[in-house]
């Protein structure tokens, strides 16, 4: 089959291209770029020299010859290409935010500043968080549109899912997601924030309390919890590295999972007394943590791309670099009141291109790991 990639010269597009290059079911690639139309792809990315010999074409031409189309474009411009694919009857897998809020245009408008142009399209689409929506994706008959999830929402949602679905989390209480991303998350266009001398050897948060991925995460959490609501707080940081997202989730435990009465997010704790000096977590608390770990391990036991790490390890981005894994580690605060979940993904793979290919695999009934078996190095 032929896979088309619109926006192939952005980072996400280049990464899809790279992955599909060695996908056993993909016979050929058709690449499109507005900025570099007519140029050879390997001129833009010389690391592909002698590997890809492909002129960058117009999107229309790409759609024409492809059996599946990926779009890796800025937010707000995908609908026109989705229309063409739907007409032609081929799947359209979109990397932007345009098809992530299909049942909630108001939220999309509030955060992305634009209404839908083609409302009916959004009835054909499915949100492509593979592990969560696998059956929805696979049962779709063509034409179909996949809204590939955001990088942070992928990481945060896989981290929270067992806690939400298994009601480990106290109902209604805020979950805090404190996350850090590598600089590829900012895309290929040079700008001051991503200028080497100004982000090297530095660490900072950005868009604190106001990042567009917040509503996507909140919506996912709610669906995972059967529609219930809760506040979430999401704070992204920029780390001086190329790839990777690490998310730390602070999940207040439901009463039945808390150990102690000094559990401080409970109602009881609201009447504050004097400080009780802090002690290292007790044996009882560590056993509870191990039990929560077992819930997670069990929940994801069958998933090829979600690894619940052995209890005691901390998830780290260099263990998933270059791979489609989401690594999860389970911890507890020293008071036994809050479950701490760490999750690590490669933001360009599981957080973008890898998940898009995984979606293609599910859609077409391929082995879900096809083309995604690459095992990265630690160093």
């Amino acid at each position: 089959m032929i896979a088309g990639i619109i926006g192939a010269t952005g980072y996400a597009g280049a990464e899809i291209t790279r992955i599909l290059l060695s996908h056993p079911k993909v016979d050929a690639l058709a690449l499109s770029s507005t900025s570099f139309e007519g140029e050879d792809f390997a001129n833009v990315y010389p690391n592909f020299f002698e590997r890809i010999h492909s002129k960058l074409e117009k999107p229309e031409r790409i759609i024409e010859k492809s059996d599946v189309v990926f779009a890796a474009l800025p937010n707000g411009v995908s609908e026109q290409f989705a229309v063409c694919c739907v007409k032609k009857g081929i799947p359209f897998i979109d990397m932007s935010a345009d098809f992530r809020f299909d049942d909630d245009e108001e939220t999309y408008k509030a955060w992305y500043g634009k209404p839908y142009q083609e409302a009916e399209l959004h009835r054909l689409s499915v949100y492509g968080l593979c592990e969560f929506n696998r059956s929805l994706i696979s049962e779709k008959s063509a034409p179909v549109i996949i809204g590939n999830p955001g990088c942070y929402p992928t990481c945060a949602s896989l981290a929270a899912w067992p806690a939400l679905a298994k009601h480990l989390a106290a109902s209604g209480e805020t979950i805090i997601i404190n996350a850090a991303s590598g600089v590829t998350g900012g895309g290929r266009e040079p700008q001051r924030s991503y200028h080497f001398p100004e982000c090297n050897d530095s660490f900072t948060a950005y868009k604190t309390g106001n990042h567009r991925h917040t509503p996507e995460i909140a919506r996912n959490f709610s669906k995972m919890e059967g529609g219930a609501g809760r506040n979430i707080i999401f704070t992204p940081h920029l780390a001086p590295m190329n790839r990777g997202i690490l998310a730390a989730l602070y999940v207040p435990l439901a009463k039945e999972y808390r150990i102690t009465e000094n559990s401080v997010l409970s109602e009881a704790s609201l009447s504050a007394g004097p400080l009780i000096p802090v002690r290292p977590p007790s044996k009882e608390i560590m056993e509870r943590a191990a039990a929560l770990h077992a819930v997670y391990a069990d929940f994801y036991a069958k998933e090829r791309f979600v690894r619940v790490l052995p209890f005691g390890l901390n998830a780290a981005t260099n263990r998933v670099r270059g791979s489609n894994y989401c690594d999860i580690s389970i911890h507890i605060d020293q008071s036994g009141a809050v479950l701490i979940v760490m999750a690590a993904i490669d933001n360009m793979i599981k957080g973008a291109a890898g998940q898009a290919v995984q979606n293609m695999n599910i859609l077409f009934g391929f082995n879900e790991a096809e083309g995604l078996e690459y095992q990265g190095a630690l160093f």
Copy 2:
């Protein structure tokens, strides 16, 4: 005057040495190292070649000739040198944890695994968080021992102080401190976690729910709040950079500072309903954030080394690199329920050597910024 540094070849010791080298009140340095006794300091740190010509001596010899002694040693070995300084009647400024819990030996024992050897010493000491304990430090008559604070506790405590002292924080509710540090925080001894290929281009948490700085932070918070207790959760991360700590504090706002009834950490929120879609922060919420910013700006208006950044900026470690500043930025979550405070320090300066020198300045009645005026570059 002559300043002695015991443990001068560790990172903190070398940094005190470096700062004192251009301190206008310090006439000479006396340097000690067990590992490199007899060697020239500039052999160990060739960046000081032609700048420091000083043989590394025994600690006893250092104490003998000094007017003030800094100890930059592993935890658990400082008391013996403190005894000597007290006998001689000169101030002893200790960088380890040994004098940080002077009124709570049990907590020290629980986390550092060792009782005090010289209990009476701990009645002579003061916890050297300069801005918080300035008057205590300055009114001490010699002999005196300063327990220089930990790097994370310095950053977290300065970030939380106004919220605690001004009762912005809801009484008794958990404050989460999510922090990241550069690799110098791990010290000079090579080990796998700090081996370049295994921490470069990676991000991970460590000692999640179990770091020794937790009780120090909790104790500081309690003192800043007049003795009240609350749980804290502290999660340190390792960022691929040399210097800097960035701490993100999540401070549930007291009722009178919350904007909306959908404030989700309140009792009211505990009865969870269906998801209310998340919206960008409203004008009202942003105004509230600006008001909270004003409280902080006012609180620290007179402090030379704490900068409350203009509203809208995010604190970043590269803005304080090489300097003694603690930069603070103020944010709010989109629901208006939680104050988010970002604080950045250079872990080796304000988080260690700089604060030690600041303590010396206070003790001796020097201008507090003496020797600490260096302004770092952004790049």
Copy 3:
């Protein structure tokens, strides 16, 4: 077939393991480690969690069950294992320097401080610079020992080969090789030089004028030139990155390839006059450079893993990161006297594990690129 790896927990061993994991002809791996005997490989490298379930065994046990054995050990200990493999009649591919000087024990002794223990072994071996010795390797009948080349020698030799074989280089004149490597080149053992805070954001040369790869490079150059001798100068640097070697070779051009009479390495130039102001390279000189580029492009036209980049590009390590490529770019100095060749490899792949697997492929008559098709990302 079963592939055994002795020393699987060092960086080179882990990298061979990682590559062979997806090698279509390798059915199983047998892993050995002295330091971690009895442990699970994935405990040592948690990035392999759920990917490799393999206890680390004794070397003897590995050899017993394998059809090919790789040794990734410190210099000076491989012979004993080579003996066993030879006895068993299976190929032994050695990553150390022990089989790189098989026809020159004196040089080995002079640089590695140890004579051969088993002299006859060295008559069974071949130096595994794949592109150069391909026919020697493939015609070997088992038992056979491959001395896998050093990382710098691989890069420098592939860079120089066409210039030497085609006599572009002036006979007898010194070739300077100025190279930089990522920190993985120093291996897995933590030490001060590779401690993150002391190599991050820094650049330095090491073992200037005295690195063990010098005689290996000189020997290779001589063989490539039909036995002729010349001095070489090799200077390695440490760059603050994980992977990659970039070598800059300064090759004085033979008279017939020099453009101008102000060619300054020629005898004529030895009588120095006053300064002739330097000008940008003339059109004539650039055309000559393009012609030299054509010689290189032609020379390597058939090689899958050596890419002569389009004229005008500079080889860069991030274009080969994670792949088995050696990228070469061709330049000339502004006077037209010296050919400058830049070559980039991933030191862990083409410079170590990848080339070892390529050697296995050649030995066994597999497609040479089997298991080595991975295309890295630029970012």
Copy 4:
């Protein structure tokens, strides 16, 4: 006195600003920026928040009120401001290339593409390589223009000077300068080459055989050698770090300094024989190197900012980071034919802003180290 800085928001300008902020003789700064006119300097560089309260003004206004003016502008626009300063009778210190070729307009035109507009200005100027031209600079009576040297030329010239002045270098033979720079060398404007994800963890050469600093280096070498000419080859690289230049110079030794007859750059060696296997440098050769080291150490014994490191060390950029030092280390190739000089500077300090301030100090008769005493940390 008041110091004016035109172009204060570029990296060099910001660095001069930062240094002068703590210069004991500078009472006030006057800052100019075309891009940010009217804005507060600390808005552009928030690391200066609460440190500098200064509106960015027009250049004319700056010149009016200043006693000395620094210009940190792109090449080709400085003359107009020099004219104003000369008229006003105050020194003008220029960071661009515009006053580096005052006696050779043709070379300037050939490399910078533009003739001089104000030829007579160039008779008032002096090339500000402080150590080399100190007396020329100090004897200038105002008005005076200083052409502050390029970063690479500063490093390369200080590295070569003793070898040239003391005739260690074989007359007329090519000297190769292989250098690497941190990314601040590319300035503040974001562009693809300096985009974090594309230069992080990578190493590459650029403008190979064609960099504008080549003629400046060649001219300096010639002056240092009393007007003699020789070819030089200069190859800059980009290293993934913020600051620092390391230059490796390959200097063929004059006959009287060569050890062996197998010295391969000599005429004798031109008739190449078979390979003589390479051996580690002999005792005799190492003694020769030590003697050459002594020549260097003696040459620079009185210089405050040039440190010839103890024999055996390699110059490294992290030892000079943040300081005005040029560190030099001396080596020899294993054949005894070529002197290898390593030199390290902080490209933004000794390679730009620090040297500019040093020039000001010389011009005004201040202590040459005034404002430049800062000692950087290794980590």
